[in-house]
Subunit: 535 residues, 2 copies
């Protein structure tokens, strides 16, 4: 039965995709030519193939090919919410096929077992620690921990599948955001990468070890874990133009905005992120069991509680972050499942930059670089290269030049999606569009059809990217997350992405450039094979 | 004859001082009481003992004791220049006694010999260096050097005496400023303190070695030498409140403003400083003979030429300074004579701060700290303690908390004046007045009469400190040097200094607090002894 249902879904998805492509590239231009100068066209009334009646035709942003296929009624949201209308749009309601067990990242039993083990280890540790602390006269706040099999973080982890980190309507995601905003923090510690440094600061490297970024792992009372990145920069400060991308500060608001952007683009490859005012005394200093972390706390001349990254304590005193006097803004990113139950691999980005002052990578000097990459495994088949291109579009929109590696879950193999982790170096300059970030798109001249049509949708006034982002970011407790210039830069950059695609199509033809991908099944139904990447 | 003349001058100065003190503290209040409500008083006409006719009485800033003794015609400047009127004021025209050879820092022959030696050493070095550079394919711009016995820097050095670094009307000072602004730079190098580090960066110290400040020594074609401190911060940026004073940036504009303030206060203990747009390529990179310095140059992402402090190259890439694309603002401070011909000693400030996060020095916790200091050599006699108090007033006005040591010329012994070197950490916050900087004044309750009357003069609307500073700073090529809030902070802080003095006088009486000092001779004429510090 499940197989039957899945096939039906695939069939529907296929039909939708083919129809949309036809409508989009063949019917629409014809209809447009017919209707030129005629306004009746806009009054056709809602029907499955009607043209958008809300200005889509009247105010085109690019040339005619930027129109989005209207798949069904334009809106099911009457509250005036553009974001609501966007998420109600048929393009955002294409069903993923039903998932086989191999297509989910985790099994319920496996995760529960993992959780229970963590829990009992914590309790043993806590008992010993509190005894030791009492002897050493260290005051540590002891918080109750609770085993909650319905915890939102568990549901988030269980929802991860080979298509995305979460499904569009998963109620666990808003619940997890809420939990991260409000739950009691029971412990704070350095992250694993910082511990790997073991306090050694390798200053011979131009690229700073991650320890320079002051990120911390916070554990909530139900064992939800989140990575905390403190505020380092005011919303209206721009990265100075002389700063290299690899020494730029990490921005907590960029981390938050990237989660929202990724969701608005329907990628769902960024783990949930929320802002939170963290009490650095009560929620870090008093709950950490790490002596090293406790040692970097101090009181500033303005009587605020501050802390350094360990490695910086000795060299860079001006690099502290401070509460006011205790509260400090930061981003909390939900942790992915532990590497022991959900291993990931980190792969160098083929379009990696030179992390030196003068070096240049091959892609920067060789215009035919993509031809080489296309021949190399794993970029010579499947979706990997298209996923890299998606990522480059995402990074171009945020202005993040620091994508040296990407991660995938090993379980899903080469067909798995790419995680968009670590986005805090985006949104540094609103006034500059770094076109080199788009190199994968402009050099390979390929894009997923599903990505393109959504970008086109977001270029339309009724879904304008800046508007839906503004609306989406209003949900965050630290709002406003982005300044207006950063929001408006998104629209400008989106136009530039579409222009690059347009240039590719002009040169190489639509079929070469736009890859049909609506049903991304690994199953082998007849209908799927003809839809998969056609290159 | 010279002795005779000197005695006459001393006599005149003494008379002036005694008269001014009497007028100030005794006559003036009486006259004021007599004249209360009567405007005739202001029409007495110009005479040596007339009261100021320009609002001095009408708009007192503090209570009656803030009036300044009007020593002669109020103004000789009719151009509307407050600064001109200030420098024409009798208080700014008290003659220093004629100087014996022991009261001058250098002898002409000695300095000329030194200059000639330096010159021939340079020529030998240059010859060898150009040969070596040719072999190693290093392109170095070779500039002509000229021996100029009339060079302004020589005149400045020859003018240094035991009273001050320069006399009020020394034409060498404006000439030296002009020379530093325009002369060709023939070489650039690290300063001696940075060389002393030998590239070793002692990051275990919380206090950063001076190498962190990117200062360089520039040599002009006539062998004038200046210390270059590049711009690190915009004029309108304020030091964040959580930053400790000892990790604050150095500000080139603070260095410039401090020279002007010191001159306006008539201390003349800061060597001449001017702003200059330096071409980092042509005037540093291409003229340096130091490989290490050449190695820290790089081109930024915005295609500007930048350089790091050597020590930072490995750790703190965001700490570079950049030209635009080559021109970079900075301060140029005239070098004092070399230590080999004019040795100085560096003495810890008794009111030194704890250069740690939590430490406190005794003066911060012990209100009777000054009683201890007054008993200790060299603070138990002579002017040293009064000089320290002068310096604390100067530092309070600029907001400089980083006065850990002070320097004096050994030649002048304990009676020599204190140099006010290294003022770049002033003017960090205009909105905050750091009262602890005034601790020497508020704890010792002593002030030189000469200092007090000038402060009172500068509190009056017709000489208002912010106005004369604004006017004085207009002469600098990098104008505006200080933002309006910083200028206005000077007035506010001046009032606070005067209020501290007032409180001391109320508690201990005028004679205990205000030390008559107008003639600061070390000679032994009868008239001088009774004027020296009376405590």
């Amino acid at each position: 039965v499940s197989m039957m249902r899945r096939d039906r879904l695939l069939l529907a998805a296929t039909f939708t995709a083919i129809f949309s492509a036809d409508l989009y590239f063949i019917l629409l231009p014809k209809l447009r030519r017919m209707g030129q100068g005629s306004r009746q066209f806009c009054s056709c009334g809602p029907s499955n193939i009607s043209l958008p009646g809300q200005g889509g035709l009247a105010t085109p942003h690019l040339s005619n090919w930027t129109y989005v296929p209207p798949l069904g009624a334009l809106t099911t949201d009457s509250t005036g919410s553009k974001l609501g209308r966007l998420f109600a749009h048929p393009l955002y309601n294409i069903q993923t096929p039903a998932l086989g067990p191999e297509e989910k990242l985790l099994l319920v039993e496996q995760l529960m077992e993992y959780y229970r083990k963590k829990m009992s280890r914590w309790e043993r540790h806590m008992k010993l620690y509190m005894e030791a602390a009492a002897v050493s006269n260290i005051s540590v706040t002891e918080h109750e921990v609770t085993f909650d099999p319905d915890a939102s973080w568990l549901k988030f982890h269980l929802g991860i599948n080979r298509y995305a980190l979460y499904s569009r309507d998963d109620p666990a995601v808003p619940q997890l955001l809420e939990d991260m905003q409000g739950m009691a923090v029971v412990s704070a510690d350095y992250t694993q990468d910082e511990k790997a440094l073991k306090g050694v600061c390798d200053c011979t490297q131009v690229v700073k070890p991650s320890g320079h970024h002051l990120k911390l792992a916070l554990k909530m009372h139900n064992f939800a874990k989140a990575m905390f990145k403190p505020m380092r920069q005011q919303r209206d400060e721009e990265t100075p133009e002389d700063v290299f991308y690899f020494v730029d500060l990490q921005r907590h608001n960029a981390e938050i905005a990237a989660f929202h952007l990724d969701r608005v683009l329907d990628f769902r490859r960024v783990p949930p992120v929320t802002g939170r005012l963290v009490n650095v005394t009560g929620e870090i200093l008093q709950v950490t069991h790490n002596e090293d972390l406790r040692a970097v706390f101090f009181t500033s001349p303005a009587n605020n509680t501050c802390f350094f990254a360990k490695c910086l304590y000795v060299c860079k005193t001006e690099y502290a972050v401070c509460g006011n006097p205790n509260l400090l803004e930061g981003s909390l990113s939900a942790y992915l499942p532990g590497l022991s139950i959900a291993p990931r691999i980190s792969i160098p980005n083929p379009w990696i930059r030179s992390y030196t002052f003068t070096g240049r990578e091959e892609w920067e000097v060789n215009p035919f670089y993509c031809d080489t990459i296309k021949k190399l495994y794993p970029y010579n088949s499947g979706n990997r290269l298209l996923n890299i291109i998606d990522m480059s579009i995402f990074d171009f929109l945020t202005g993040n030049m620091d994508r040296h590696h990407y991660e995938i879950f090993t379980k899903f193999g080469d067909e798995g999606f790419i995680l968009h982790l670590d986005n805090a170096r985006g949104f540094g300059k609103h006034s500059h569009d770094e076109m080199s970030i788009l190199a994968p798109l402009s050099q390979c001249c390929m894009i997923k059809s599903s990505t393109l049509v959504r970008l086109q949708l977001l270029a339309r006034p009724e879904f304008r990217l800046s508007d839906v982002m503004r609306e989406s970011l209003k949900e965050d407790p630290l709002r406003p997350i982005l300044t207006e210039p950063h929001l408006l830069a998104l629209d400008r950059r989106l136009q530039k992405v579409l222009r690059v695609v347009q240039r590719c199509i002009r040169r190489q033809g639509r079929d070469e450039v736009v890859t049909k991908d609506f049903a991304k099944s690994t199953g082998k139904p007849q209908t799927a094979t003809e839809m998969k990447q056609t290159r």
